[in-house]
Symmetry: C2
Subunit: 336 residues, 2 copies
């Protein structure tokens, strides 16, 4: 039924081994014969049986990608970056979405592990500890993208300390003194802690002792943004807020609007992430944009080069993108 390498070999008067060498471009073969074989493969409608190849090959060129199904939409951009680099370097990606249900998580991970993988990349994943233990137990190469999990897994992400530090500087320069940081402290304790430290240190460098109440949030969701406004009440005790993710910031913005506040007059917002979502609001969100595509590319590149140690940390740059959600709080004074 299906065409195999053997069929091609028969038709070409060669052995399967030769055909294999030609189609995989390994070993020695005659250039003319090679062209004949390639043409035959094309015309006979041959498709490599990857399972058979995987089975017989030592080294896999397949990289598994675990993506949270509660789908922060930057995952798309990371995957896009990965895919372009994978294509370029002739690797293959298998994407699997991870649900919150633990049983399902385990099944997903097992089904990934049951393939012959070069590595598994985890995108900003909120993965259960037991599942993580399973992953660490197998000796497949791991990498965490846009997140830092722990010191056993190499990571590629923005420098979260610097990012928040820079945002605080920017807000301070615009006259803000009372600043909030809205977002989850779970499930990325390392990232959250770095942000918190950047936040606290930046404030203290400006001679401001931070108010612990101003670091708030349970989850990285839209609802958290909405809730934040209700939690602090109007008038807000701060003049600017940093949203830990675009979707949170949109929640902040809508929550503020729903409470009859004007943005940015009554509240300045800077969001972390800077995906296309920032363009959908009015005013457009001011953001520190992460370079997700680059993260994806670097992930594949560094996996291909096999130079990752458990402690490797790669940072990608962020850039401040001006929208319309930051104003000086002094202006508000003038207006009154």
């Amino acid at each position: 039924m299906t065409i195999t390498i053997k069929d091609i070999a028969n038709k070409a008067g060669l052995s399967p081994a030769s055909v294999s060498r030609i189609l995989t471009n390994r070993g020695r073969f005659n250039a003319e014969t090679a062209q004949k074989v390639r043409d035959l493969a094309e015309s006979m409608g041959y498709f490599k049986n990857q399972s058979a190849a995987d089975l017989s090959q030592k080294e896999s060129r397949v990289i598994g990608v675990l993506v949270p199904s509660s789908h922060t939409n930057f995952a798309d951009e990371i995957i896009k970056g990965m895919q372009s680099k994978a294509y370029e370097l002739n690797y293959e990606l298998i994407v699997a979405f991870v649900e919150s249900d633990i049983q399902q998580q385990i099944q997903t991970v097992k089904s990934l592990l049951s393939r012959n993988l070069l590595a598994i990349a985890m995108l900003a994943i909120d993965i259960d500890d037991t599942v993580l233990a399973v992953l660490l137990d197998t000796n497949v190469q791991l990498i965490s993208v846009s997140n830092q999990l722990n010191n056993k897994i190499p990571s590629i992400s923005s420098n979260n300390y610097d990012t928040v530090h820079d945002i605080v500087d920017y807000l301070y320069d615009n006259g803000h003194r009372d600043i909030a940081l809205i977002g989850s402290s779970r499930p990325e304790p390392i990232v959250a802690n770095l942000r918190r430290q950047g936040f606290i240190n930046a404030l203290s460098e400006h001679g401001i002792t931070y108010n612990p109440d101003f670091i708030w949030g349970v989850e990285n969701t839209y609802q958290t943004g909405l809730d934040a406004i209700k939690h602090f009440g109007v008038p807000l005790p701060f003049s600017a807020a940093i949203g830990s993710a675009d979707i949170i910031s949109i929640g902040l913005l809508n929550g503020a609007k729903d409470a009859q506040l004007s943005i940015p007059e009554d509240l300045s917002i800077v969001t972390i992430d800077g995906t296309d979502l920032t363009q959908l609001t009015r005013p457009i969100l001011t953001s520190t944009k992460q370079n997700f595509q680059l993260m994806g590319q670097l992930a594949i590149k560094s996996l291909a080069e096999k130079k990752l140690s458990p402690h490797t940390i790669i940072f990608t740059d962020t850039t401040l993108v001006l929208g319309g959600t930051v104003a000086s709080p002094l202006q508000r004074g003038k207006e009154n």
Copy 2:
């Protein structure tokens, strides 16, 4: 290095065949022995080598999923539905993102086809004709989800004719007589035509001859929505618009706001799709919500049952979800 079925067999004093029968739950075996073997597998850290299994098995339980990388975010919901059903029925999903670059498309499809697949599901995909030809040429089962491609591929989608027809009815009942339909006529000619027909027929049933100029749009993008407002100019020649996708409708809404129009007083909007994006705008978008999760579930279910013919068309229901973007145009008269 890695644990195989043979290792387990040795330790259990059995043959590999028996272990295989036990772990796959096929054929005959003793219940006690089975438990012992399962425990051994667990404790030894065994992972099935899926490549080997695929190679030796006649029938695959793997379903490939082609997802557009220009990622309409409802794809997530479809995948979520697929994954839950796949988990339930013990199928496995391999997700691949399709770029717009044709070479890359071909590589992606080939890499899918080089696995032993039960079927390939295509999500709302704008796939190149040559690539589609490749897919049709192989005799792998295909299914199109949330889109109708042609009469050679079974599909699961909303009834696009009814959906638009119902929206027109709803808008008519709210007093609207001049209605526009904004969105692409490509790359889903069948879907676009059905919507167009639903649009035209519904209007004509209300005694309105439709204005062809009011069907407008190049792509299903945010920009199209923005452009639409500029294209028609202020004041708009219609009182209501149907956006073919949430992202278009957000474009319409923002475009209108940018032109100093008020929503819904100056323009009523109903959007097709009804993803979470509709909640992010102010006012919240009124939508006809498609049941994407159900589509995903049905896709897996019908593939599992193997009763799909090339002409099979399955419709899922849509529901009108009231937001704040529809007002009677008469109110505008009152206000003036």
